[in-house]
Amino acid sequence: MSIQTQFTGSTSLKVTPFHKRTSVLNHSQEWRRWSGYLSATTYDLTHDVEYYSIRTKAALLDITPLHKYIIKGSDAGIFLDRLVTRNIKVCKIGQVMYTPWCDEDGKQIDDGTVQHLSENRFRLTSAEPNMEWLTHNAAGLEVDISEDSEVTASLALQGPSSRAILNEVADENIDQLKFFWLTERWIGDIPVTISRTGYTGDLGYELWTPKENALTLWDRLMEAGAPFGITPTGLHALDMARIEASLILLDVDYISAQHAAIDLRKSSPFELGLGWTVKLKKKDFIGRTALENDHRRGTEWQLRGIEIEWEPLETLYRKIGLPPQLPGMAWRTSTPLYSGNEQVGYATSGCWSPLLKKYIALAHLKTEYAKEGTPVQFEVKVEHFRKTTSARVVKTPFYNPERKRTCP
């Protein structure tokens, strides 16, 4: 039995344009602060159903708190090309690029997507506020940068049924929308930008619309999605999905160079597994010289996926008469990794993957221990006592279904 209610507790946090709906649906009343907004962690009393909806049905997530900027003007493309590591000059209208950006020492500040919306008009998403850095670097260029977070409402529709649901509601079929491309569609009388992007590593879309349309869009999706099992989904399930997809999270898997207290805490994209995004052929972008050095000399650290082996873990627990204790949710506590007596790295986030039936984690490893298959020892607390158990470096993403990038 449940009582239908909106969340009415007093809060200093902002609420998104979907709050009227999400607050009624959030049975657990569990919220987290996300960029100053109240954001649902789990709608149900546990997050399992939401997790499985990402992988087997369709999950609907309110991602409005994501920082968004509209960048326009005759130098918008040049500006972004100098700002980020990827080559924005080849980003066609309708294309989306995932990219990090760095300070001039080549240390990563943030990562997000660049959406090429129309001629000289882009949207940039980021994990943290970037307005100061953007405007500072726009000096001397014909660029207008504006906050989009308060203007645009955004939803993520993720999971194998997401395409079918959108085909039900959109004015035109989106079957041919390719991975990391976007399109303008009408859903009823609402204009919506649909990008085939997401943070789950599954087939999925993100929807962007002026915030006045938020509730209509939500209702339309929930209505059309019902037969497909559409499920409002919170951040707990998302966190597991993004670990399975090996997508890093700022302030969890790395610290922004903008606020790292010491240099040691800063990372180059080459250390975060993002070397593929660094286009050294580009003549000039912020951090280029330093990144060229990183590329030439190699870096001391590498971000990798590790899998904690089952048998040794089971043995550890069996000794004290318990079955293996597995994390029900994603964790984000730095956990030491050893080779013999030497600490050779640390895991920054991990979870039990219910789908893969594997215990996985994202980890920073010294380069000499980062090769696929390298065995490492993972620290685990067994009934209050610190032990180590076998893990090994594996290929990422842990989960990478073909449907993520294919078109029917």
Binding site: D75, R82, D103, E104, W133, H136, N137, A139, G140, I286
Partner: protein, 520 residues
């Protein structure tokens, strides 16, 4: 495309000096000046039909002797006019304080106000001279690169050994004690009479946005005394300040420098973060192995294009403090005004309206709130008494330097500030020369906003960046450009925005020329 060894941007004192020295060293040099003649802040110009003035500087307290000897400026028509130079301050009861290079005469003048101060005056002069002895060799050094300090750059500090030997370590410590002090604190250690305290204090706030109760004003005071032999030094250039830059132009041209006027640079050309030349406003392009800018750092990097700077450097340039608060006023007068307590000898030199230290401090209060001082510190001169050619027969010119008129105004536009400036100056002058307002035939008011547009000075700062301790030596203009070179290869700075700072002493241009020659 014409090609040169070096292009110098800006035809003020420092630009001319750099060009002249590079020309003398055999470089093929072109100097580009936006205005219709060279001179910049050291110009003499006609501001109304028949009326001439020294645009910004009436007095040139110090020029490095290397300049006059190496460039043989005298043969190019430059000489000092040191007759009857004194700084006068009208005090109370018709008494006038007169500070001149003659220490005894100055002591006698001070005695009108305080016997104790008169006794102390020679000691004060010695002390200041000792302190500036430390700074003088420092001014000829290219600052060492900090934090990448190495042995070679430490060795460049060698000239500092001499003053330390001469005055001892204790006096070096004394310099370090005094340098960050306020003028109030320094003067509290020495003097009691208000006209003296006000006038000496005013010498420490020249071209600053702060008053004499602000930290670091002693540094600015010492800066204005480096190279001079007396306190509150006054020196005139015979024929007007513009004669100095005219002589420098002549010396530069003799050294083979091509001086082009009405040549405004619109951008510095870059190739792979290297300066390769410049583009003029009319579209002409000139190439060169080195481009040296005498403009202030912000104006210089504006020509490079701020988008071409790295984020960190762009931030450093942006953070340079300018905040001009000095205005210039020129009046064309129908006849010689009658001052209550100032004779013609005083008027043909420099007069400071600084009856007390708190008067000067109070005038600085307005600047904090973006307002124009109602009772400003005014330093004025009647140059037409010295140079009869400055005004038609029987008529006169009064030129004043006025603080404080802030660049960043609150609640008023520049036209209003200009009007307020005029009202304040006329009101103060009227208290000393009744009826002067009626003598004004012509006038020119230059607020910091006007100085910015007229001379291309960022925020109207005459020193191309405030002379404060955090913008001194290896931090001037920024920590990575203090060696006259810049992150843009082959682009150099030589203006007062560099070490050792503002004034017409020419050390910036001289140091920069030496560095460019080394770089070549």
């Amino acid at each position: 495309m014409k090609s040169f060894d070096t292009i110098v941007i800006g035809g003020g004192v420092n630009g001319l000096i750099t060009a002249a020295f590079l020309g003398k060293a055999g470089n093929k040099v072109v100097l580009l000046e936006k205005g219709k003649s060279v001179g910049g802040l050291a110009s003499t110009e006609q501001f109304a039909p028949g009326f001439h003035c020294n645009s910004v500087f009436d007095s040139v307290p110090w020029i490095n002797s290397v300049l006059s000897t190496d460039l043989d400026l005298e043969s190019h028509g430059f000489r000092f006019d040191d007759a009857d130079t004194a700084l006068s301050t009208p005090g109370t009861e018709g008494k006038t304080l007169s500070i001149s290079p003659d220490t005894e005469a100055t002591s006698r003048s001070i005695a009108q106000f305080s016997d104790r101060d008169a006794e102390k005056w020679p000691g004060f002069c010695e002390k200041i001279s000792m302190l500036t002895d430390f700074l003088e060799p420092l001014y000829g050094i290219t600052p060492p690169p900090i934090p990448e300090l190495d042995l070679t750059s430490l060795l460049s500090m060698k000239p500092m050994i001499k003053p330390v030997r001469k005055h001892g370590r204790q006096n070096l410590v004394e310099l370090l004690r005094i340098l960050p002090m306020t003028m109030l604190e320094l003067l509290d250690e020495w003097f009691e009479s208000e006209p003296l305290r006000g006038t000496v204090a005013a010498s420490g706030i020249r071209h600053l946005n702060q008053g004499p109760m602000a930290v670091g004003t002693v540094f600015n005071f010492l800066h204005h005394h480096v190279g001079s032999e007396s306190i509150c030094p006054v020196r005139f250039v015979s024929g007007g300040t513009g004669q100095l830059t005219d002589a420098l132009q002549s010396a530069a041209e003799t050294a083979g420098v091509e001086v082009r006027t009405k040549a405004e640079v619109s951008s510095v050309m870059l190739q792979n973060r290297q300066a390769t030349g410049i583009t003029l406003a009319d579209g002409e392009q000139l190439t060169a192995g080195a481009v040296v800018s005498a403009l202030d750092p912000q104006s210089t990097f504006h020509l490079v294009g701020t988008q071409n700077l790295t984020p960190r450097f762009r931030r450093r340039v942006k953070n340079i403090k300018f905040r001009g608060a000095t205005a210039r006023v020129h009046f064309g007068l129908k006849s010689l005004p009658q001052f209550d307590s100032l004779n013609e000898k005083a008027l043909k030199s420099i007069v400071s309206i600084s009856p007390s230290l708190s008067y000067v401090e109070s005038s600085s209060d307005a600047a904090k709130y973006g307002q124009v001082s109602q009772e400003p510190w005014i330093e004025f001169s009647l140059p037409s008494l010295r140079e009869s050619s400055f005004a038609p027969l029987g008529k006169h010119v009064l030129s004043a330097t006025v603080q404080y008129v802030p660049y960043h105004l609150r609640g008023m536009d520049n036209a209003t500030a200009r009007q307020k400036l005029r009202n304040s100056v006329v009101a103060v002058l009227e208290t000393h020369a009744l009826g002067i307002a009626d003598l004004i035939e012509h006038e020119q008011m230059l607020t910091p906003n006007d100085l910015e547009s007229k001379f291309g000075l960022t925020e109207g700062n005459i020193n191309h960046g405030e002379m404060m301790l955090d913008q001194f030596f290896f931090m001037r203009p920024t920590i990575d450009t203090a060696q006259y070179s810049t992150p843009i290869k082959n682009l150099y700075l030589c203006g007062p925005g560099t070490h050792p700072g503002g004034g017409l002493h020419g050390m910036n241009g001289l140091n920069a020329a030496q560095l460019v020659l080394k770089g070549n």
